[in-house]
């Protein structure tokens, strides 16, 4: 039996889902922009407290993970299944590294008493409270997407192992890639807004 897969339909569905994600994060970016406009000095001071080296390292890690993901799709399309699997493992390793670095960043901040609703934070000016509130909300939501994306990539890896995602039928891996690149896209904006605007 021959089943014809509708790749356009499959990818269209994925893109429509990504649009809802773009508007979800877009709303939060709008909130950030409005409060940056209202408390420029407080945002400047609060932003200085974030570690630019860790933020930049995570940017490089996530961009590299996107690169490995794109290579993995190219490899599978060219019939290089083993290489595609290795590249997926590389993508997952980068995702893990991103989360570990994020964990240390958050831990350091929480250790210094800066977390939502903490007495230390509430004693500060309103703009700084808002900055760190948005920082935890937006990087936290993004981190959740990294975890989910890692899950989807792991699932794609299993499907390749089982022979259900193949060089002839790879749309699942492509859609997993689209999701992963969206995670990278969001970080591309989060990094300058929180770490560099100061």
């Amino acid at each position: 039996m021959t089943v014809v897969k509708d790749y356009t339909g499959a990818k269209l569905g994925m893109w429509l889902f990504l649009f809802t994600e773009i508007l979800l994060f877009g709303g939060l970016f709008l909130l950030y922009a409005a409060y940056l406009h209202r408390y420029p000095a407080d945002f400047h001071l609060a932003g200085k407290e974030l570690n630019v080296v860790l933020g930049a390292t995570n940017t490089v890690v996530l961009i590299s993970s996107s690169w490995l993901m794109a290579l993995s799709i190219s490899a599978l399309q060219q019939g290089r299944v083993e290489q595609s699997k290795k590249l997926l493992l590389g993508t997952l390793a980068c995702a893990g590294m991103f989360l570990v670095i994020k964990y240390f960043e958050w831990s350091a901040k929480i250790h210094h008493g800066i977390y939502p609703d903490s007495p230390e934070l509430l004693a500060r000016p309103a703009g700084e409270v808002m900055f760190f509130g948005l920082y935890y909300l937006m990087t936290g939501l993004h981190g959740l997407h990294v975890i989910l994306g890692g899950g989807v990539i792991t699932y794609a890896y299993v499907l390749i192992l089982k022979g259900r995602v193949t060089p002839q039928d790879f749309v699942f891996l492509e859609n997993a890639g689209l999701y992963w690149h969206l995670v990278d896209l969001v970080w591309i904006y989060l990094f300058p807004l929180f770490y560099l605007i100061a």
Binding site: K5, Y7, G26, M69, S74
Partner: protein
Amino acid sequence: MTEHHEEHHTVTYKLNSIIWGLLLVLTAITVAAAQFDFGFLNVVVAMTIATTKAGLVILFFMHLKYEKPLFKIIVFITFLLLAIAIGFTFFDLAYRN
């Protein structure tokens, strides 16, 4: 047996790697640019570089460059809507006392 009859464009390893290199260079530029104070332009410079990076990811890593016009149109509309939402909010904010 699963088959599909649509044409697929495979992005070469080389092109993928060039895009990766460009993204790393742009990251370095945005970090370097942040060491200088351009005043109001700080945000503009950072967002312009970020949008250039986003464009590279969408066009090449997400294959939008090789997709049908339908995909290009709907992606454009989505970002247009986002720009309208953000732009109109600032028309409001900028003219408040």
